[in-house]
């Protein structure tokens, strides 16, 4: 699918029922910064508006899930209001915070790095250069607490998911799958490819903030060596964020 086709999928927002306790405001069906920007803009607007009956909103790549109490909210009124809010807003293209995330690439930290490089006919150092050279947008947090789904992977690095998923990958794994990239937050199963590992804990139950990243934030990766890893790992263990907030 080429870029112009992608554009044509930007559609008028529509409401999809999700049982009696939720609805989804859908802005499109592709991974697109403009669509995601609208999702986040509506999320922000609703946070400010504090609509009665709405319990929780969950932004995703392309839609905003709105959880409500069906005994408190009138569905027809709520949908009407959400649709008019959604039509009125402009895409939130201003990014949130930008984080510099240290990564040790390859070896025991990224066991698939060499294979992925070979598959794409490039040296491992070229792969690292391309992966760490991009600015990634966090489209959504999901799957696991703090797990960040990223857009912005260099198309040369797009790699089909593994045929056989792994039962578990370590917390902090830096992974790619298809055209997507991610920072894994906790140990979890995954069919994506492991390129490296970060000492950053995007979810740390005993730290304030518990969650480091939000949808709409940006991430740049900073290659580090094992010695630096050891120091940062100790700091992260002690509750420091380790990821640095940087200006674009």
């Amino acid at each position: 699918m080429n870029a112009s086709l992608d554009r044509s999928t930007v559609q008028a927002p529509r409401i999809l029922p999700c049982g009696d306790c939720a609805l989804s405001v859908e802005f499109g069906d592709t991974i697109d910064p403009e669509i995601n920007g609208k999702v986040l803009a509506l999320d922000d607007a609703l946070r400010v508006a504090a609509v009665p009956g709405i319990l929780e909103t969950v932004p995703t790549y392309r839609s905003l899930m709105v959880h409500f109490d069906p005994t408190m909210a009138d569905y027809a009124g709520l949908s009407q209001r959400l649709l008019s809010e959604a039509q009125a807003l402009t895409s939130q293209t201003v990014a949130g915070r930008r984080w510099k995330v240290p990564v040790v690439y390859g070896g025991a930290y990224g066991s698939d790095l060499d294979d992925v490089a070979e598959r794409h006919g490039m040296s491992p150092s070229r792969l690292i250069e391309l992966h760490a050279g991009a600015v990634y947008r966090i489209y959504m947090i999901g799957f696991m607490p703090g797990f960040a789904y990223l857009g912005g992977l260099d198309p040369q690095l797009a790699t089909p998911r593994r045929v056989q998923p792994r039962a578990r990958i370590p917390a902090g794994s830096i992974i790619i799958g298809g055209a997507q990239a991610a920072v894994a937050s906790i140990e979890c199963p995954s069919g994506w490819h492991l390129l490296g590992r970060t000492p950053v804990r995007s979810y740390a139950p005993d730290r304030d903030p518990v969650f480091l990243f939000s949808a709409g934030d940006e991430i740049v990766f900073d290659p580090i060596d094992e010695a630096r890893w050891a120091a940062l790992e100790r700091a992260a263990e002690a509750g420091e964020p380790v990821a640095e907030q940087v200006t674009p």
């Binding site: 859908e26 999320d43 969950v58 905003l64």
Partner: protein, 341 residues
Amino acid sequence: MTALVVKSCGPMTSLQDHGRYGYQRFGVSPSGAMDRRGLALANALVGNPPWTAAIEFVHLGGILSVSGGDLHIAVAGADCVLKIDGKPVPPRSTATLEDGQTAEIGPARSGTFAYLAVAGGFSAPPQLRSQSLHLRSRMGGLEGRPLQAGDLLECRETAHPGAHMHLPADFAQEDGPIRVMLGPQDDYFAPEAIRAFLESEFTVSSHADRMGFQLTGPTLAHAKGFNIVSDGIVEGHIQVPGSGQPIVLMRDRQTAGGYPKIATVISADLDRLAQVRPGSPIRFRAVDRDEAVAAARAFKAWVESLPAALIPLRWTPTTEDLLAANLIGGTVHALDPVLPE
């Protein structure tokens, strides 16, 4: 300090309350009791607010003893016999566990999830405002894990645990097909697939846990492929992966997913679905929003009416009373293993 000591229990025994809401945007599953009706009833019987954390037993029961004082307890949800020092307690009733006594929760005779509530609740520290265990993210529960033999559960102090109560009649649940609302991606399925979904019998497979129930039945063909860009997941969503065999997402569901969702179980019927055992048949019926909301209101009203609906327990039951009371507990699948008590 009063505490319950776990002598033995099944492998997925955990603390569960109403769930962990407000953090789905960070990928945190709400979790919470699989059968909220059972949780609310067990809590009402010991004078607690409906969503206080209780011990959730999964199919198998457990044995617990109390130390440090007397404790009011109650069991509800799946049909289990509660015995205190070997003496059975009438169903839907409060009981006192005196210091040093042992409570035995028998295996479920019908249903799967049973709840043991204690007056005042447990003092395990909440994580993100909930004591519910979500095992995959090691959040909540006792140190982020299920209960096991040797665990000591501290109980909160209660000024006055109240009288022994009994609920004469349980919540009148629908016993027909599980009610669903179509969507959000029913347009990804051909009309024949929707018809097959609503007109066929499915079986809850052995792959059924707190996260989701895998169903087996007719293959539901997709009309537009089965890869969508991941969007939000709510409990009760019925997603259909490439195999065409639907999965109902339950309390421990993930917060986002990439398969089309043909329909969503209405909130009032999720407790009933949770108690359907692996190997048992189910059917679905599509309803409109009005019926779903009316059912949600009826459930809310029932929970709110519980304190007033309880009557003081004066009944000293005979074995015959107990057998009679339990006969209405539900049906048991002929192929289910009979577990030793």
